[in-house]
């Protein structure tokens, strides 16, 4: 394993694979904060050069956190297909990048090798990729999943309708939901972040949305994004849960801080299978984001991007219906600017897809970041071109409960129309029946929440 590189007249020597991984990253404030980022532009390139020459076997033998010490590492290694790994272990990371991008390599080919790749191998590859590389690679991969409807159908783009309310008011939530549906948002899921994390609130929200879905025959799934253990209690009491949600991270220590473990997730998945209201087989909804381990002081000296890949390695065993990335939500100490968040979104989309996950992106930002609406819109279009399965839908782009900005109902409709993408097939039929959509375009009637108030 060669850990030294020469960039023109300068020689850079690295101490470990972990150090190379951190220094090969594009600039992000979280890596700077932890003190593991490259000290110069030349050092960054030197790390990429070293990385390009490492074999997949080198990486397999050097997990950034040891197997014995971390549940996430164990999930990644225990889930690996060793036969496929053996076939490709002599490949270098540089070769893997070219293999991903080669015209002859199909999405099917990538889905196949995916099973023989550890999260660190996938992260390493993405570190050698530029913006357009990431879009080209991501676009090839289409991951479909099924809960009540099918997500990821070619030619479609779905949205989570996110009708949050600052006091969990049912009527207030319903007003935002109707507005979202009237713009064609909500085919991925109707997903509400509750303020109060308790069984009563969660059940009340779930039942209200489910009844509305039944009354108006809306083909989608519902979810309330409380802590997984609260949703499990609600499930036990018979609440109509289609998707079980949880935020997860790339180290056991960070997952401990989130109050989750493999044991809890196993139990939640089993409960969703036995008592949930959805068809399945995909019943989980995960959220992830670069920087969560840093903000929880649970990074163990590993860079944010590699930890994000490890999160996907942890997630894939649960065969989620959807995995949503919210790197822009965490704050300026991890991702500082619009440029950093766009880069993170594209990395995450690529890494998630190469893990075989049905990825969606929230190209979001908070008010204490150096980012604005223009950055968000650029990120959204790039991720849509890269074949994100879904985005969020927030009224006017302003989440009045979580206090951050995400893709708006308007952005949802715009992105579909700009790129000629359609809603999920069953949902499109429903939108046409409701007179909201015609030939893939919003009708005159669209955008009016009062169409549900007959």
């Amino acid at each position: 394993m060669i850990l030294k590189a020469k960039v023109y007249n300068k020689i850079f020597a690295f101490q470990s694979f972990k150090e190379v991984m951190a220094k090969a990253n594009e600039e992000k404030s979280g890596d700077e904060l932890v003190g593991i980022a490259a000290k110069s532009a030349s050092e960054r390139v030197a790390a990429k050069l070293v990385l390009s020459n490492l074999t997949l076997e080198d990486i397999y033998n050097n997990p950034v956190i040891p197997y014995e010490e971390d549940e996430v590492t164990r999930a990644i290694y225990d889930g690996l297909n060793l036969r496929i790994y053996q076939e490709i272990k002599s490949w270098t990371v540089g070769y893997l990048r070219e293999y991903v991008l080669d015209h002859k390599t199909t999405g099917e080919d990538l889905a196949h090798i995916s099973r023989g790749l550890t999260s660190e191998m996938i992260a390493a590859t993405a570190k050698l990729m530029s913006t357009m590389d990431l879009v080209c690679g991501s676009k090839k991969m289409r991951v479909q999943s099924h809960c009540n409807t099918t997500l990821g159908v070619p030619g479609t783009l779905a949205f989570r309708c996110q009708p949050n309310h600052p006091t969990d008011s049912i009527e207030g939530m319903m007003a935002s939901l109707k507005e979202g549906l009237a713009y064609g948002s909500g085919d991925a899921v109707i997903g509400i972040n509750p303020v109060e994390d308790n069984v009563e609130t969660v059940t009340r929200l779930l039942e209200t949305v489910k009844n509305f879905m039944i009354k108006w025959e809306i083909p989608t799934q519902n979810c309330v994004l409380a802590h997984v253990t609260t949703q499990m209690k609600a499930l036990e009491k018979g609440a109509p849960v289609d998707l079980v949600f949880q935020s997860i991270a790339g180290t056991q220590k960070a997952n401990d801080a989130f109050g989750v473990s493999a044991a809890i997730l196993d139990e939640a998945f089993a409960l969703a299978q036995h008592k949930g209201s959805a068809t399945g087989p995909n019943l989980m909804y995960f959220e992830t984001g670069q920087g969560s381990e840093v903000s929880l002081d649970a990074h163990l000296g590993v860079d944010m991007m590699t930890l994000e890949a490890r999160t996907y390695g942890y997630a894939r065993g649960y065969r989620p219906f959807m995995t949503n990335n919210v790197s822009g939500f965490i704050g300026p100490e991890t991702i500082y600017s619009g440029r950093e968040v766009i880069r993170a979104d594209l990395e995450d989309l690529f890494m998630g897809k190469l893990h075989g996950l049905p990825m969606g992106i929230a190209p979001c930002y908070t008010n204490h970041m150096k980012a604005d609406q223009n950055d968000q819109e650029m990120g959204t279009l790039l991720c849509a071109m890269a074949g994100s399965n879904f985005f969020m839908g927030v009224p006017g782009g302003d989440d009045v409960m979580l206090s951050y900005q995400d893709t708006s109902y308007h952005d949802d409709a715009s992105t579909r129309e700009i790129l000629g993408l359609r809603p999920l097939p069953e949902f499109e039929k429903w939108l046409e029946k409701m007179g909201i959509l015609e030939n893939g375009k919003l009708t005159e009637r669209a955008g009016d929440p009062s169409i549900f108030d007959k």
Partner: protein, 302 residues
């Protein structure tokens, strides 16, 4: 110059009109109408004395063209602060929705990235020191630096602050300078008055630039007060950039955790009004001093 251009314009319009009239493409009435419009003097210099200005329409205004049920949309808008019933231009927001969003974000960004003005600090008679974060950029990217005073600030606080008082008040910009300028003028006098009339010994309040909550632990270690309270700007939302929080702790030390702090948040004119907050905080401070504990430990004693 302007007048000459205007004259030239009139001549051009007149000849075009005459040509059109000759060809029968323009009626006399039409020609007269255009000419009278062209002859009108338009103000060249903007009138800065005028009271007229462009403002946003009221937020509750329903923006959907030809809604199915306008009353239902209006009722829905009352149920949530979310941006609904805002209509669209094609798939995009209407101009006013776009500009209102930009304005709200601009106000939030200014609250984060601009400093509390020197003029304000002088007017409030507040001594000013700085955290170890030298700039806003550094403050935002290095939370650790915002949690302690700069070397110079340590010296200033050691030399100028009264030691061993019961209560030390800090005003900290945190994530919103606007929250400081909006609330402190009403909040601070009310709080000082409340504490003094309760016979509590208070050190002179001072301002910390680029500070985070934990910086109160560093200050407390120097001034040795029983209780230290930070009035700190909260991370702005698009709804308000003026929300302030008060963090109080009884004798912090190296083992202090977040749960040891008592927090009152949402202080602003749309939440807990600042003058009212001053009275409320006085009561909380009295409880903490009596219990010799804050945060979860205080709640356990109740």
């Amino acid at each position: 110059m302007a007048v000459a251009n205007n004259e030239l314009e009139k001549v051009i319009i007149q000849s075009v009109m005459e040509e059109l009239a000759k060809k029968g493409l323009l009626s006399q009435k039409g020609k007269d109408h255009v000419m009278s419009a062209a002859m009108m003097d338009t103000p060249i210099v903007p009138n800065t004395e005028s009271k007229e200005m462009v403002t946003f329409p009221p937020q509750e205004e329903m923006q959907i063209s030809n809604p199915f049920n306008a009353d239902a949309v209006k009722a829905m808008k009352k149920l949530t602060p979310a941006r609904i019933g805002i209509g669209r231009a094609g798939t995009r927001p209407k101009t006013m929705s776009l500009l209102r969003f930009l304005a709200d974000h601009a106000v939030a960004q200014d609250a984060v990235f601009l400093d509390v003005s020197e003029e304000f600090l002088q007017r409030m008679n507040l001594m000013s020191v700085q955290s170890a974060a030298a700039s806003k950029d550094e403050f935002l990217q290095r939370p650790d630096l915002g949690r302690r005073l700069s070397v110079e600030a340590v010296k200033t606080v050691s030399e100028k602050c009264e030691k061993n008082v019961q209560v030390q008040i800090l005003i900290v910009d945190g994530l919103s300078s606007s929250a400081i300028e909006a609330n402190i003028p009403d909040l601070l006098p009310a709080l000082m008055q409340g504490l003094k009339s309760s016979g509590i010994k208070v050190g002179a309040p001072f301002f910390v630039k680029n500070g985070r909550v934990w910086i109160q632990d560093h200050v407390a270690s120097i001034v040795n007060s029983d209780l230290i309270i930070s009035l700190i700007g909260e991370r702005p939302g698009l709804g308000t950039a003026e929300s302030l929080s008060a963090y109080m702790i009884y004798r912090p030390n190296e083992n202090t955790v977040e749960a040891d702090r008592t927090v009152i948040s949402n202080i602003h004119k749309g939440g807990i009004p600042p003058a009212e907050a001053g009275a409320h905080l006085t009561d909380v401070i009295k409880q903490i001093l009596a219990a010799k504990a804050s945060g979860v430990k205080l709640n356990q004693q109740k």
